[in-house]
Amino acid sequence: MAELLVWPALIGYGEAAFAYAGFLRRPGSSARLGIWGVRIGWLAQTGLLIAQAFDADGFPWGTWAGALNLFVWLVVGAYLIWGCTPRYRLLGLAVMPFAASLLLAAWAGGGTGASSGDTSSVLLALHVGLMLAGFAGLTLAGGLAGLYLWQDRRLKRRDVSVLRLRLPPLETLDRLSARTALISLIVLTTGIAVGVASFDRGDFDLAMATAITIWGLYAVGLLLRREGRIRARRFALLLVAGFALVAVALPLTHFAS
């Protein structure tokens, strides 16, 4: 029965995605509907995850679909931290369609139903949880960087609607995306460390190599930013590229291995 909670979550996220699209047409009118869609959807998904945790013997999100389910919850949860403030509403336009699509994929892959819990090791569960949280943070950083690039383009092109449809200020987006990426990298580092401690040497596969490559890319990017060698637009491009790698390469290598 608890798996039925996926539907209110999907409807909430889907409604939010449509409401944010409406916000583009007429600022102010549908943003509140969008936020409520996110909140209700997230609460429903939280209920779903709790039910899955109770039903399972071990870690219930060890499959790719289960991991996707948890990943979506983490992404939307992180979005809710800023998404409720008026300036960051449009971040929902990037995040919510993505979250709704991934949750639908998780449902189609059986990740929202009852699971026997195929991961019995606590360390392994911690590793998966931390990695997913880290990637969720990087997804959000990618969304913020996408907003940065959009705002930068509007200002460069002297878009006449730049004050009518207001995005967060450029400097704030730059700072926030860098901070989100840094926190996510710390979480990811911990996840990798836990993984290294719990895996056998022979378990190293292509997905792990990709995860470490992504980690390296973000680490180098943040280091260069700290030294002032890349900033603003270039750093935003790097975050978006990193997000593309997370979204495309990671699932591909997961299935390949």
Partner: protein
């Protein structure tokens, strides 16, 4: 109760006439006080309008004439020219007008923010009673709702405000950000004031004649420098406002390139208010460098104003709802005396019957006596609840007076006073 409004505004009268009847807050309060003999009065005077609101319970009181005389008396020499330009509104129309004014719908720039404060000041300085108190409170509520529930007041309506808002779109909070003014024109000054009001710091005023720039620099607490220092200042400035009358570019790509590259991608905003332009548009090819000229800003303001006008449609609906609520409240006043008399009569009967039974009730304890009081009061209140609600509903339509007369007749309300007066 009657409400009357007599006024003159930018819609009918030119500024030469409006300024003749404009009064300051103290004068407005004094005028309201002098008009409040036997009625309520509020005087609202802004740069776009002077309006007198009067209200009274006495239907025979010539409110409009009094208000007209008082308004024309403010400019006796121009009374003949002013008289045909005055508008006179009563009751519902007057209320709707005030609600529109408070919401900024009657302003030159829809949704401008100052008017709400001016309405509040007029209310504070007025001589109000039940009607004008309710009217102005609800007008302020309508004005606030219009600004909160629609985007009518959100976007800038002038070039200096647009320039400052653009700077906030780049930097967010302007505190800690430095502004460089190149040229000391009026538009530069207005933009500088706007940026300062949002937390920006004016670092320097660069001008061809340093002495001329020093005047503005003193006003905005900046230092005056010559145009030669501009390239060096670009590296440390976040917003650059230019408005010189120079025939060519004051900031060209070659001059600015080195300075801007040393900012290592930190954004910089150029607002070029000059014609011919002071800033080479090619600067916008540099990463993090944004250039807006006067045409760009005008286009941004036009779009903002178009947005405000679109939002005004929603604000009009909201104001109409508030005006309707006020009309219902005002109409309910017609049945209030009948309701009060009915309740008084019922209470009199209840108290009288309890007094008659005093002999039998004397045996009751204090708590039992309180219980009897409470029960009988509740019965009276419940019996009268529905008639009260129905009378108020009828009053919101057009039948309030008929209902009030029927109730007076059925319950013989006021007959005893009438017969005692006859005796």
């Amino acid at each position: 109760m009657r409400l009357a409004l007599v006024g003159v505004s930018h819609r009918q009268a030119p500024v030469e006439l409006r300024e003749r009847v404009a009064v300051g807050p103290a004068e407005a309060a004094a005028l309201a006080g002098s008009l409040a003999d036997g009625c309520e009065a509020v005087v609202l005077s802004t740069c776009n309008r002077t309006e007198l609101y009067l209200a009274t319970v006495d239907v025979s009181e010539p409110l409009e004439e009094r208000a007209t005389e008082s308004l024309l008396a403010l400019a006796p020499d121009d009374a003949a020219a002013l008289a045909p330009l005055l508008y006179r509104l009563g009751d519902d129309s007057a209320a709707l007008h005030l609600f529109r004014v408070a919401a900024g719908l009657d302003s030159l720039v829809p949704g401008e923010g100052e008017i709400l404060g001016q309405v509040r000041d007029a209310f504070d300085g007025g001589s109000t009673g039940p009607l004008l108190d309710r009217l102005f409170r609800q007008a302020l509520h309508a004005g606030r709702r219009a600004r909160v529930e629609t985007a009518i007041g959100e976007n800038p309506s002038s070039v200096p405000a647009a320039a400052a808002a653009l700077a906030q779109q780049v930097f967010g909070d302007l505190a800690g950000h430095t502004v460089l003014l190149i040229g000391a024109g009026k538009m530069s000054e207005l933009t500088a004031r706007n940026l300062r009001s949002r937390g920006g710091t004016i670092g320097a005023v660069a001008n061809r004649t340093v002495e001329h720039g020093a005047e503005l620099a003193a006003q905005v607490e900046a230092r005056a420098v010559s145009l030669d220092e501009v390239p060096a200042l670009l590296a440390t400035s976040d917003v650059v406002i230019t408005s010189t009358s120079a025939p060519g570019f004051v900031v060209d790509l070659a001059t600015a390139d080195a300075a801007l590259r040393s900012r290592r991608g930190r954004p910089i905003l150029f607002v070029d208010l000059a014609v011919p332009r002071d800033v080479d548009p090619a600067l916008s090819t540099i990463d993090g460098c944004f250039v807006y000229d006067i045409d760009d800003l005008q286009a941004v303001v036009e779009t903002s104003l178009a947005g405000r006008r679109a939002e005004a449609v929603h604000a009009e609906q909201l104001v109409a709802v508030e005006a309707e609520r006020f009309r219902e409240w005002q109409a309910s006043l017609a049945v209030v005396p009948a309701i009060a008399a009915l309740r008084a009569r019922a209470e009199e009967i209840r108290a009288g019957e309890l007094a008659k039974s005093e002999g039998r009730l004397g045996r009751l304890s204090e708590s039992e006596r309180k219980l009897v009081e409470s029960v009988t009061s509740q019965i009276v209140a419940k019996l009268l609840h529905l008639p009260t609600v129905r009378m108020k509903e009828a009053a919101a339509g057009t039948d309030g007076v008929i209902y009030a007369d029927v109730v007076r007749n059925l319950f013989g309300l006021g007959e005893e006073e009438q017969s005692s007066r006859d005796r």
